[in-house]
Symmetry: C2
Subunit: 235 residues, 2 copies
């Protein structure tokens, strides 16, 4: 940890139009809770940002006003695809990731990290529907819900951000603190169905999610190919 | 269901200063996903609202501009205590709950429903740290993570909103649709620790959450006593 003792822990999440809000609000719930922590949202402009389903979040500051972050959180969502070729945002991610002690991506946020060149040679995961795109970024795909490789933690889809953030909380504050946060959030999940991954969901349900996402998945793949060329990766 | 066929499903969540944001954003993630659904946030004023840890959410409209809701979502958080004696908001909840087909509370949102008189004679649950306050509202405390009693679903603390919302999604759209949402969110949780309820957390961790919440719990109890008197309940 390179963090100075005299300042609070600085956590920052990238906020963008078309984010899937739980990718951000899940980790926020976990990581913003300890004392001496500042968790802020950073976006390209100060205007409110709309998530994929219309929830509106306010950025706390623009990218250019970001202090050196200790922890960088990169969420996903349909809007992630545009970010993969947005040099201003990718540059911000690279600079912040270099100094941060921890980087956490949730869901398709991993594709943004990949586009920034941060997954080269790293084990990584992402939402199951785009898991096959990881090699375009030079990543080593890992079939796990939370993958920690050095300073970079990647997680599977949406709700996996809660599990990844709790692991990160333990790394930042110790296991006892993470367990306290978990109890505060009463995180003893009881999903009503066995349908949270393609391994256990019915073929019919899995097919319906594939159909719902096939257009964006195709676009993401085309973008990932261009990124691979830019990064000089043969995938 | 009294819903008219020619309009989208209208879901509305109460938004207030000092909300615990995941109480709202968890159910939003689940319930806003199906097509023909409008999920909006309603607050007393149009100004951005700050959650307990500083995340800023924008209301979509003020209470007085709310259409007749099919589903009313009532989150909790430290700010919930003030709402328990806010007659404007309680009146809004009563009116909307009367016409809605479903009412969902998350975490200490149950205490708001209780203060509105909606838990009288109903089985209900809430965050474990305030579960003992349920009788002040005439509720029958149930030691369960999600409790469905007629049109009212109450859930345990914070993350239980995800489980409650998935059950509600099944009631609204059928089990197949709820399973599809669950797979989309990759909700196959892997909490890193066994610490999500006082039944499994260590005594030390449980005691530390009790200490962190004892002030607000005492205030909530004092408010609950006044509510009981107003509602004519002997608890």
């Amino acid at each position: 940890m390179t963090r100075e003792k005299d300042r609070p822990l600085q956590i920052g999440a990238l906020l963008f139009e078309g984010i899937d809000q739980l990718d951000l609000t899940g980790p926020f719930e976990v990581l913003a809770r300890p004392p001496d922590t500042v968790f802020r949202l950073y976006a390209k402009s100060a205007a409110p940002v709309r998530d994929v389903r219309g929830l509106r979040l306010l950025p706390d500051a623009v990218l250019g006003e970001t202090p050196r972050l200790d922890v960088l959180v990169v969420p996903g969502g349909f809007g992630q695809e545009a970010i993969m070729e947005d040099e201003e945002t990718l540059g911000w991610i690279r600079r912040q990731a270099e100094d941060a002690t921890h980087v956490l991506s949730v869901c398709t946020g991993a594709l943004i990290l990949g586009a920034a060149g941060l997954l080269k040679g790293r084990r990584a995961t992402t939402h199951w529907a785009v898991h096959h795109l990881l090699p375009y970024f030079g990543a080593v795909p890992a079939d796990e819900r939370v993958v920690v490789d050095g300073k970079v933690t990647t997680t599977a889809g949406v709700t996996a951000g809660l599990d990844g953030a709790l692991r990160l909380a333990a790394a930042l504050h110790g296991e006892e603190a993470a367990r306290t946060i978990q109890l505060f959030m009463e995180y003893a999940p009881e999903p009503p169905f066995d349908s949270g991954s393609p391994k256990i969901a019915s073929a019919c349900v899995t097919e319906s999610v594939r159909l719902l996402t096939q257009e964006i998945t195709a676009r993401r793949e085309a973008t990932a190919r261009r990124v691979a060329t830019r990064l000089g990766i043969e995938a």
